[in-house]
């Protein structure tokens, strides 16, 4: 009992505002880029190579809407929790609770899946070096523990590391793109021989939409940094939009290289398609580079996910949607340390299931539910707080077109998900309905209703 006795009661410990647009970019692209290295290619299995390209751009439009909407709203809500904080201020507590839960589960499961990828890749390498039965579990735990430790020690170093490893993973893709000589068709890339018509017609293209989300899933995580950037009004829009541009480029060149090196029948079920594509070039240097890129992208994704899940959990605790004990900030490192520690066993438990497919499906569906809310949220935001009522760091163009487009695109993606994972979709919706009932009838009585709204906003129009 030394330091606290000397502090004045009015003193507060807040999260540290040390991040810039580069860190926001690293957070968003870092979470997503692993989807370029693996996962997106399952869309090829559903709709063929061209079907995957259509899904890539169609879902790219969905995420561009997400990025624009997020940038505008977050430039006014400089709060950790991202979409959770937005929902709380704009729609209401029940929506906020659900969105917070989507975020925590989506990011924690994605983190577990990333750690599983690291463990599985090391097991494959061990197999190639004469140790065929390496248990991936210690490496899954090491990945989660070391990244949680990094997050615990401070956000600046966490996202600086993320920037470096994400940049390396992105550069690996760009190097491979130029290596394959896209200006010289037929030299390395064999599109003329490998590309076919849509193998399952347009219904296959619809089915491909679900896996098309892998190209961009997680870019919305940038707004979790809103409370820790030096200027949310400028840094969040800049980091998010530049991240989205990076991903559109990465997604397109990834498809172009893989579709020109591997037949769609193989590509549609490959575990590590970009590493396989590098093997097809016959270049050992590229193989090493793409292996490093794959590992780095998985680590960057897990790192960003720990950051985002802990901020959501912390924010929900701060508003007493969860026990306020989780709202503690470390007095030295200025991180939500209890939320970070609490989510470690949750991620390890998901990781130990080994059910990569189910874990990822739950994560994607949780994300999709969140995007659906965002379109409704945006329309209510502009109606309740018109442009001249709150100062925004960024105003997205063509409103309400992006919000409506997002709603329609989400509807199409739900249909695609229902085609492939109908039972999972219904089970997940059932889970969230039960959680909502628990929140409404049990948890909400602990919430101090006035305390949760601390942003200096005017009253909404029509209040």
């Amino acid at each position: 009992m030394s330091e606290q006795t000397a502090t004045a009661p009015a003193e507060r410990i807040n999260l540290l505002k040390v991040l810039g647009p580069v860190h926001v970019w690293a957070l968003g692209v870092g979470i997503v880029l692993v989807g370029e290295y693996m996962g997106w290619n399952f869309s090829v299995g559903k709709g063929g190579a061209y079907g995957s390209l259509i899904a890539c751009w169609f879902i790219g439009l969905l995420y561009t809407c997400v990025a624009m909407i997020d940038s505008e709203v977050t430039s006014t809500v400089a709060a950790a929790g991202g979409q959770y904080a937005q929902a709380k201020h704009i729609v209401g507590p029940l929506m906020a609770f659900n969105v917070g839960l989507y975020l925590v589960l989506a990011y924690t499961m994605l983190e577990a899946a990333d750690a599983l990828v690291v463990g599985d890749l090391l097991a494959i390498v061990a197999g190639q070096f004469g140790h065929p039965d390496l248990d991936p579990k210690p490496f899954v735990v090491l990945t989660i523990a070391s990244l949680a430790w990094l997050n615990y020690r401070g956000v600046f170093m966490t996202l600086t590391v993320n920037f470096i490893i994400t940049a390396v993973a992105f550069i690996a893709l760009v190097v491979m793109f130029f290596w394959t000589q896209p200006w010289n068709p037929g030299a390395v890339l064999l599109h003329e021989k490998l590309l076919t018509d849509l193998p399952y017609g347009w219904i296959g293209v619809i089915a491909a939409l679900q896996f098309g989300m892998w190209y961009y899933l997680g870019i919305e995580g940038t707004c979790q940094a809103a409370e820790e950037v030096r200027s949310a009004g400028r840094s969040i829009p800049l980091g998010t939009m530049s991240g989205m541009i990076t991903l559109l480029i990465a997604a397109t060149i990834t498809w172009y290289m893989a579709a020109g090196l591997l037949p769609w029948e193989y590509l549609g079920q490959a575990g590590v398609p970009m590493y396989d594509a590098a093997q097809m070039t016959g270049s050992p240097t590229l193989m090493v580079l793409l292996f490093i890129g794959t590992i780095f992208s998985a680590i960057a994704s897990a790192n960003g996910c720990i950051n985002d899940a802990s901020r959501s959990w912390f924010s929900m605790g701060r508003d007493r949607y969860l026990p306020i004990w989780f709202a503690a900030v470390h007095p030295r490192y200025r991180t939500p340390y209890r939320a970070i520690i609490f989510l470690i066993p949750v991620a390890v438990a998901f990781g130990f299931t080994g059910l990569l497919d189910q874990v990822i499906t739950f994560s994607i569906l949780s994300g999709l539910l969140g995007y659906t809310f965002m379109s409704l949220n945006m329309m209510k935001f502009r109606k309740s707080w018109p442009l001249d009522s709150i100062k925004r760091g960024y105003v997205h163009p063509f409103h309400p077109l992006p919000a409506l487009s997002l709603l329609i695109l989400c509807g199409a993606t739900y249909f695609a998900t229902f085609l492939g994972y109908g039972a999972s979709l219904l089970a997940i919706m059932g889970f969230y309905i039960i959680a909502s009932v628990w929140f409404h009838f049990h948890r909400y009585k602990y919430v101090r209703r006035a305390d949760q709204f601390t942003m200096p906003w005017p009253k909404p129009q029509g209040y």
């Binding site: 009992m1 030394s2 330091e3 606290q4 006795t5 502090t7 009661p9 003193e11 507060r12 410990i13 807040n14 999260l15 505002k17 430039s75 809500v77 400089a78 709060a79 950790a80 904080a85 061990a126 070096f129 140790h131 390496l134 248990d135 210690p138 490496f139 735990v141 090491l142 523990a145 070391s146 949680a148 430790w149 615990y152 809103a226 409370e227 030096r230 200027s231 949310a232 009004g233 400028r234 701060r318 306020i324 004990w325 709202a327 503690a328 900030v329 470390h330 007095p331 030295r332 340390y337 209890r338 970070i340 520690i341 470690i344 100062k391 760091g393 601390t454 942003m455 200096p456």
Partner: protein
């Protein structure tokens, strides 16, 4: 015991060390600081926009 076995045991040991370090640090912080101070954070506002407003810029 080959290289990969040693690597696996090392991964377990390092993980346990990191987790233990975080737990010990969290317990120490919980003891040294008042709970009200630890949970005192509030949603932030964008200080740059506030500065703009104070400066009279729109």
């Amino acid at each position: 015991m080959d290289f990969w076995d040693i690597l696996s045991y090392s991964a377990w040991i390092i993980s346990a060390g990191l987790l233990l370090w975080m737990l010990m640090d969290a317990i120490r912080i919980n003891r040294e600081y008042d709970e009200d101070l630890l949970i005192s954070s509030r949603e932030g506002a964008d200080e740059l926009l506030e500065a703009d407003e104070k400066g009279g810029r729109s």
